[in-house]
Amino acid sequence: MNRTELLALFEATATEVVEKPFKNISEGTVISELGIDSLGMLEIVGAMERKLKIQIPDESLAGLQTVKDLLEAVEKRITASA
């Protein structure tokens, strides 16, 4: 799964979880400006983990600021579990 596909997956998952459409999210989008609280973000991460059959350790989520940071953490787990 490449970066564009991952970004699309994130957008789709966020839309599902928060039950609101998310469009025009880019890698540079700052997570805290998405208007999703941290509980909601964790729900999104959980849903992405299930779809991708991966597990992201909590500590690699702690410092994330942008969507790019999150996608990189996801990518790292995909590579690690491949």
Binding site: K20, P21, I31, S32, E33, L34, G35, I36, D37, S38, L39, M41, L42, E43, V45, G46, A47, E49, R50, Q55, P57, D58, E59, L61, A62, G63, L64
Partner: protein
């Protein structure tokens, strides 16, 4: 303070007793699904070993040790290790994902400073997120090694055992409250408080039976409900518990019930929002695979309880044989150690529907009208404890008159650590003034809201919860993302509503909110502020902070957030 009759007098005695006579233990489930089971005897041994490590680092009886450890097993063993060494643990929230880093560092620095911590314990993985704050803390900086150590340091072999004598009046740990107030305060919790409260909720409240009861909890261990409810209470009363990481539950709420099903859990507790999250996320096929008839104590506390949420949960789980009579709505707070009132076993949710008009006049009159407010019965106090409702002068009020809830008894703590003024304001002649508004009916307690948050407009009393719930029902607003408070206007208090919404739906919401409040309460809204999601300040447990939101509003910071996001129209005064 005299010792309780049915449990040991201190946590140390309790763990020693378990190691001698119990074959039970704690099970720690990890995020990857593996489990670590530790019999109580092994837990004691490891705790004493860790205690020796703390002593070897120069910590002596009464010294405070800040603990920032997210892994439940490492947390519990280190927490107990400190207690065996007579050291006072100060549990702290680990950095939550996607939160503002500076705010987190401020909280860490504040708690470490206020507790006078000599040392901070963390993990290798968490250390990078804590360390930037520790250099700012004077007490730590003076300690050898910068006052920071990790659980890896505790794995080295060590000789000797902690040898301190500990009694019921000794300080056990400092519970910093996340309260909706300004800065967290450290509640002084003694061994005696813990013994009494554990006896109260485990023995009198839950009527625990060590031959088959088993707790299942994902609650954070830096909060009283997770730490006292599922670590300390069960240690005092010989109950096994399965712990799940909090983040695992949020990512996948079905893990909670899945674990209860697998382990045949009998006792669990959660705040209202968790029951709501489960109802929202569960799929039918999840429910079909479970047999939850084992759940005999399903507690709800720590935030206002909505009867509707619990009913939805019960409906959804009926095919899994969940018994709604197992619900135990409860009321409590850190200043009273943990639990203050429990409902009687087997009764489930009982609620009171009261007239909103009379409520404005501090009366709770039963009503069958559709616009009546439903409040959940939180039950009565435990043996040796009392609850009363008082007015502003401290006079006791009769049933169905709304006033401040006060409580006294051996579970009530002595005060806030090194905060004499705050202590004097809340603890008066042995009575804890909870700051909560409520009323009683035949000795059973109903909680209406926080005293300081009460909104009084032209002599009518309004509870922010009521107003927020009505606004939350509007399309475009998510439950829990609304804050109501009052500001001083020309002729007295005026109502302000702040709601989070998406840009696409923000337009027109101001009018809808104004209309809803007018329709339900015949109350004019002075200002509606619609802000982008994520703007409202929250406590570490995710509750919106009313007072902080009010401060931000008065400082013009909420309007600013709106401009940056370019979300909606200007807030318009509607009075």
């Amino acid at each position: 303070m005299k010792d309780p009759r049915l449990v040991p007098p201190t946590l140390v005695d309790a763990v020693n007793e378990l190691a001698r006579s119990s074959s039970l233990g704690f099970t720690f489930a990890r995020a990857d699904g593996t489990e670590r089971h530790m019999p109580f005897s092994e837990i004691r041994e490891e705790a004493r070993r860790r205690g020796a490590h703390f002593a070897s680092r120069g910590l002596v009886k009464g010294d405070r040790l800040a603990i920032v450890v997210p892994d439940p097993d490492e947390f519990v063993l280190s927490f107990l290790g400190a207690i065996f060494a007579g050291v006072v643990p100060v549990p702290m929230v680990p950095q939550l994902s996607f939160k503002n880093v500076e705010t987190y560092h401020d909280t860490v620095a504040h708690i470490a400073e206020a507790s006078g911590a000599k040392m901070l314990l963390t993990t290798e993985a968490t250390r990078p997120y804590v360390e930037p704050a520790t250099s700012r803390i004077e007490g730590l900086a003076k300690s050898p090694g910068g006052g920071i150590m990790t659980v890896a340091d505790l794995s080295a072999p060590i000789s000797g055992e902690p040898n301190v004598s500990i009694g019921g009046d000794d300080l056990c740990f400092l519970q910093f409250t996340s309260g909706s107030t300004s800065k967290p305060k450290g509640v002084v919790v003694t061994h005696g408080n813990l013994a009494w409260n554990s006896q109260s909720f485990m023995v009198h409240g839950l009527e625990k039976d060590s031959s088959f009861d088993k707790g299942v909890s994902w609650l954070p261990l830096f909060h009283d409900m997770g730490l006292i409810g599922f670590v300390i209470g069960p240690l005092f009363t010989n109950i096994p518990v399965v712990f799940l990481p909090t983040a695992s539950f949020v990512r996948n709420p079905r893990i909670w019930l899945d674990t209860i099903h697998k382990h045949r859990g009998t006792i669990t507790y959660a705040p209202n929002f968790a029951y709501q999250l489960v109802s929202k996320r569960l799929k039918e096929k999840d429910v079909e695979s479970w047999d939850l008839s084992c759940m005999r104590r399903t507690g709800c506390g720590a935030e206002p309880i909505q009867a509707r949420t619990l009913r939805e949960f019960a409906d959804k789980l009926r095919p899994a044989k969940f018994d709604p009579a197992s619900f135990i709505p409860s009321y409590g707070m850190a200043e009273a150690t943990l639990a203050i009132t429990f409902t009687p076993l087997g009764k489930g949710i009982r609620s009171d529907r009261i007239d909103p008009k009379d409520r404005e006049d501090a009366k709770a009159t039963p009503s069958d009208a559709p616009e009546a407010h439903e409040l959940v019965n939180c039950g009565r106090p435990f043996p040796d404890h009392e609850v009363a409702i008082v007015d502003e002068e401290g006079n006791r009020l009769p049933d169905r008159k709304v006033g401040e809830i006060v409580t006294r008894g051996p579970s009530v703590c002595q005060g806030y650590y090194q905060e004499p003024e705050l202590t004097a304001a809340a603890f008066k002649d042995g009575w804890l003034h909870t700051g909560d508004l409520g009323y009683t009916v035949d000795g059973e307690v109903f909680v209406c809201g926080r005293l300081k948050d009460l909104i009084i407009v032209r002599g009518r009393n309004f509870y922010p919860n009521d107003l927020e719930w009505v606004v939350s029902e509007l399309p475009g607003v998510r439950r829990g993302n609304v804050v109501a408070f009052s500001v001083d206007g020309d002729g007295g208090e005026e109502l302000v509503i702040c709601a989070e919404a998406f840009q696409s739906e923000a337009l027109g919401l101001t009018d809808a909110i104004t209309q809803a409040i007018l329709g339900h309460f015949s109350l004019n809204v002075y200002k509606v502020v619609v802000v982008p999601q994520g703007t409202l300040p929250r406590t570490s447990s995710g509750k919106a902070q009313r007072r902080k939101t009010r401060q931000m509003f008065l400082a013009g910071q909420l309007a600013q957030a709106q401009r940056v996001q370019g979300a909606v129209e200007e807030p318009s005064p509607t009075a």
